[in-house]
């Protein structure tokens, strides 16, 4: 991979919840067109870190740089404006609406503005979401289907498609393969590869080691609010699994000397 500028750089991020130190000075770099796997046991801090990046939490300390520029995010909409899209674990879809409505939720295309009422440009949104699904090779028969009629894998695909619809710089996926069938998992992983092929930069949080192994370029392991491992994904899967588990349970730690408590 060519050495490019980092899309995201998080420096020394700290976040406390009352007496709990959820993040204890985490550094994280995401390079352009890279898929970064983020692993760790429950309560390791990976979701908290991603919520900081997506603007849901404001860090107590540390700074975030997007394409080299320091940014401040007060809420998820700020992050979105900066091109950071989050695919939530519960997908944040409105099941009673159709695929198009969900893709454009909160960012509807308007054909006329009768102050203060915007008139929906339904056809152009339908066309746009159809194009989007085709481009990502997502298999959904019609963009007019209600989301409640879709399978789990298709819903995941819709949530991911939404994250890519508006020229996002970074896509964060929180457990995209949890609660899916084996066939659906492979489709979602194909979708991640497709996104990478089209130039996206992606962070994936997952418990499933095989998934991280199969799509990620680099892996970060977190434990107890710290980064304990940051390395490219190499080697065969058994060796990879053994090593990652060692880091996850605390048997190994690459950054032990950097602890500042």
């Amino acid at each position: 991979m060519p050495e490019t500028t980092a899309v995201v750089e998080m420096r020394n991020i700290k976040k406390n919840f009352a007496a709990v130190q959820a993040l204890r000075g985490v550094d994280l770099v995401l390079r352009h067109n890279e898929v970064l796997g983020l692993m760790g046991d429950n309560a390791a801090g990976k979701s908290t870190l991603m919520k900081v990046l997506s603007g849901a939490y404001i860090p107590d300390e540390g700074e975030i740089l997007i394409e080299g520029k320091k940014v401040h995010m007060a809420d998820p909409l700020d992050a979105r404006r900066l091109g950071i899209e989050m695919v939530y674990q519960d997908l944040a879809l409105a099941n009673n609406l159709d695929v198009t409505s969900n893709v454009f939720l909160g960012r509807e295309t308007v054909s006329a503005q009768l102050i203060p009422i915007g008139v929906l440009d339904s056809r152009s949104m339908e066309q746009e979401s159809k194009r989007l699904l085709d481009r990502l090779k997502i298999d959904i028969p019609s963009v007019r289907l209600l989301v409640e009629r879709l399978s789990g894998g298709q819903r995941q695909a819709v949530a991911i498609a939404r994250a890519t619809a508006f020229n996002s710089k970074v896509i964060i996926m929180d457990e995209p393969t949890a609660a899916l069938s084996v066939a659906a998992i492979s489709k979602v992983l194909d979708l991640v590869r497709e996104l990478k092929a089209q130039g996206a930069s992606i962070i994936i949080i997952s418990h499933r080691l095989e998934d991280i192994y199969s799509v990620s370029d680099r892996l970060v392991v977190m434990r107890q609010g710290r980064k304990v491992r940051d390395c490219p994904v190499t080697g065969d899967i058994d060796e990879f699994r053994e090593r990652v588990v060692a880091y996850m349970i605390g048997a190994r730690d690459d950054f032990a000397n950097a602890v500042v408590d």
Partner: protein
């Protein structure tokens, strides 16, 4: 595509069609059993006027239920605002042109107070509006206590609930038929067909699926026939009433807002998944204020229509209207869990319930039996709704 395949493809629409078919069945049943009295011009005219104030409430209630709330206060609020209108006309000597905007503004204000309790103070809507129910019941009694029933003598105001749109005098053909109503009916059919055809063409231009030509023509013919039939019946008496005009305007505006605008889509998104809506930049609080504000506005309108219809404000005005509106919404396919339900459905629901009452009255059925029949229809409609929702998956 064969007819059966078309039906299969339309299976998810069966909820909507089922309601129209049920309505048609009720109309046919009462037409036969009352030997045509039910569909007489005079009866249909009265039926529409007696439904209008409930239907207007049901429109607002639809949106309230869609965003997962309920409003029990609207009955007595409508009664109270009707009393305010009566007092404004009779004792404050304000003209109709001031009274109506004043009452509508008070309605919006009352709705925003409810929204404040629900959205800001996080009180469940059931509790907040139950308090409103008590509060407005008290307020209504307070307002009418000293004078009892307030008779409204303003002819313009009373025309809203009782009057009919004027006809062009001196036209010879079709004596006894209301020509302006007929003209409006023809206009409505033409506009409907034109908009459907243009919509179909545009959709085809974008290469999206449309109904097969035969189904499309069938749909056009059926709805045109319904509009023409209603027009003909209404034109045979005194024509279109002002209450019906008000109701039509409300339905057109609300159908448009709910189906064609950003705000409408956001209302349904909040109903479907509030957390998702919030994460996508839709303020649930803002939508809650908007929906309860609109409920207040429509409650005021309903109160005006009701007071005008009775030509008076009484101490018990509005009693039970909130429950009729809620029943109309549920019969009309609004889902209890929120997120699902159309404005037009609730209007049909209101018409179904009003037709039942009207038809059973014409047949002279005992009032206790009437309640039981209406209960069965309400329960049956919801059972049907839940069942079709399941098979639709």
């Amino acid at each position: 595509m064969s007819f059966q395949e078309t039906l299969k493809a339309q299976r998810h629409n069966i909820r909507d069609y089922g309601m129209y078919i049920a309505f048609l069945a009720i109309v046919v049943f009462f037409t036969i059993t009352t030997k045509g009295l039910f569909v007489s011009s005079r009866n249909i005219g009265n039926l529409v006027n007696a439904t209008s104030y409930i239907a207007v409430l049901a429109v607002g209630m639809t949106l309230v239920i869609v965003i997962r709330h309920i409003d029990l206060s609207v009955g007595f609020l409508a009664g109270t605002l009707g009393a305010v209108a009566a007092m404004s006309l009779k004792y404050w000597h304000l003209p109709v042109s001031v009274t109506i905007p004043l009452v509508l503004a008070l309605g919006v204000l009352a709705g925003l107070v409810t929204a404040f309790l629900v959205a800001r103070m996080q009180i469940p809507a059931f509790v907040a509006t139950l308090a409103g129910w008590l509060f407005y019941k008290g307020l209504l009694q307070l307002a009418t206590r000293s004078r009892g029933t307030i008779i409204i003598e303003n002819d313009i105001f009373n025309a809203l609930g009782n009057g009919f749109i004027p006809d062009i005098p001196g036209i010879g053909f079709l004596p006894g038929v209301h020509k302006v109503t007929l003209l409006l009916g023809i206009l409505a059919v033409i506009l409907f067909i034109a908009s459907e055809i243009s919509n179909r063409k545009k959709t085809q231009a974008y290469h999206f699926e449309v109904l097969s030509p035969s189904m499309f023509i069938l749909k056009l013919a059926f709805i045109s026939a319904v509009i023409a039939g209603i027009t003909w019946v209404l034109a045979g008496y005194q024509g279109l009433s002002w209450a019906a005009v008000v109701l039509l305007i409300v339905v057109l505006i609300y159908s448009y807002i709910t189906s064609k605008t950003v705000i409408g889509r956001h209302i349904y998104a909040v109903g479907g998944n509030p957390e998702a809506a919030e994460l996508n930049g839709i303020s649930v609080k803002k939508i809650t204020f908007l929906v309860f504000g609109s409920m207040g506005l429509l409650t005021a309108l309903s109160g005006i229509l009701y007071a005008s219809w009775l030509r008076s404000a009484t101490t018990i005005a509005g009693t039970g209207m909130e429950l009729d509106a809620i029943a109309a919404a549920f019969v009309g396919g609004v889902a209890v869990a929120g997120g699902v339900g159309k404005v037009t459905g609730s209007i049909i629901g209101a018409l179904v319930m009003a037709s039942l009452t009207n038809g059973m009255n014409l047949l002279g059925w005992d009032i206790s039996i009437q309640y039981i029949v209406r209960a069965l229809v309400l329960a049956g409609a919801v059972v049907f709704d839940v069942a079709t929702r399941k098979t639709g998956k």
